[in-house]
């Protein structure tokens, strides 16, 4: 998650990324019997949050490369951060790892050479993520399904807005 300023992740990206790692990545190593002690729904939510955070990272990479797109894209990016936090729940807002950058986080996603191509990559990623959230909603408990359906709907709205302004 370390990219050069001003292209690098915001403090919020680091917070979100740290929270995802804490729940999705670090739990099994930190606890002797994680699968027995972590409720299944928490694991499901953490796994989906990790998937959503990859979308956040793609936006961060695009904004790092094309800062002129910030007025249009920053709001959409922030909404994915909000999705990650909602999936992780209120307890994840101040993760223990927040003050230190994640050591071996996923590498920054590749960004195309032009803003037009980058926007197309965002549309593709948004559409795939929206469909995936809808499929996950089908199998989820009712309350999580409602949240996932809303996140899916938000992604579909992003696609529509990005395509309209293209």
């Amino acid at each position: 998650m370390s990219r050069p300023a001003p292209a690098g992740p915001t403090r919020r990206d680091v917070l979100v990324g740290g929270a995802v790692l804490a729940l999705a990545g670090c739990l099994p190593a930190d606890q002797p019997e994680p699968r027995a002690t972590v409720p299944p729904e928490v694991r499901v939510r953490a796994r989906i949050a990790a998937e959503v955070s990859s979308l956040s990272l793609l936006y961060a990479a695009v904004l790092g490369r094309f800062p002129e797109a910030r007025p249009e894209l920053a709001t959409l990016a922030a909404e994915h951060d909000a999705h990650v936090l909602a999936l992780l729940g209120p307890g994840a807002r101040r993760p223990a790892t927040a003050t230190t950058p994640a050591p071996s986080a996923a590498p920054a996603p590749a960004v195309p050479d032009t803003l037009v191509q980058a926007r197309a990559a965002l549309v593709t990623a948004e559409r795939a993520a929206s469909r995936r959230r809808a499929r996950q909603a089908r199998r989820a408990t009712p309350a999580l399904a409602r949240l996932l359906a809303s996140i899916s709907a938000c992604g579909a709205a992003h696609v529509a807005l990005l395509e309209q302004d293209a």
Partner: protein, 142 residues
């Protein structure tokens, strides 16, 4: 899935779609050009959903919620700008009803509710020219 709860959830979105169809009829009259065409397209989509929902309720042996003769609109329409405010509001409120239906429905009907939520969220975003993070979830708005 409790059949009565399922029918009740379908009736609630059906009632909401009736109101939205009425609202689009009012809003469309004040719109011109691309906005009017979008309103007409969306009006047709809402009528399709309404008929689909009425069919699903009938299939379950219940009487579909009828449309009211008229509805109190949430905002007055005296201009094209008013009409866009109204269509945005109608889609936002509808998104919340579809989102609650997700809670009560399973399987294909849950997919239907998620689709309804998605379509309302997309339409609301295009009308207001902006996004919200959690369409349909009143407790997470603002």
């Amino acid at each position: 899935m409790n059949r009565r709860r399922e029918v009740q959830a379908l009736q609630e979105v059906l009632a909401a779609e009736h109101a939205v169809v009425y609202g689009y009829g009012v809003a469309g009259a004040s719109l011109r050009g691309a906005d009017r065409r979008r309103a007409q397209r969306r009006w047709n989509e809402h009528r399709g959903r309404r008929d689909e929902l009425a069919g699903l309720v009938s299939d379950r042996g219940a009487t579909p919620e009828p449309s009211a003769a008229s509805y109190a609109l949430p905002s007055p329409v005296e201009s094209a700008a008013d009409a866009v405010v109204l269509t945005t509001l109608l889609e936002e409120r509808l998104a919340a009803v579809w989102a609650d239906a997700v809670l009560s429905l399973d399987g294909d009907l849950r997919d239907l509710a998620a689709d309804g939520l998605r379509d309302a969220a997309v339409a609301a975003a295009l009308w207001r020219r902006g996004s919200v993070p959690f369409p349909g979830l009143a407790e997470r708005s603002g």
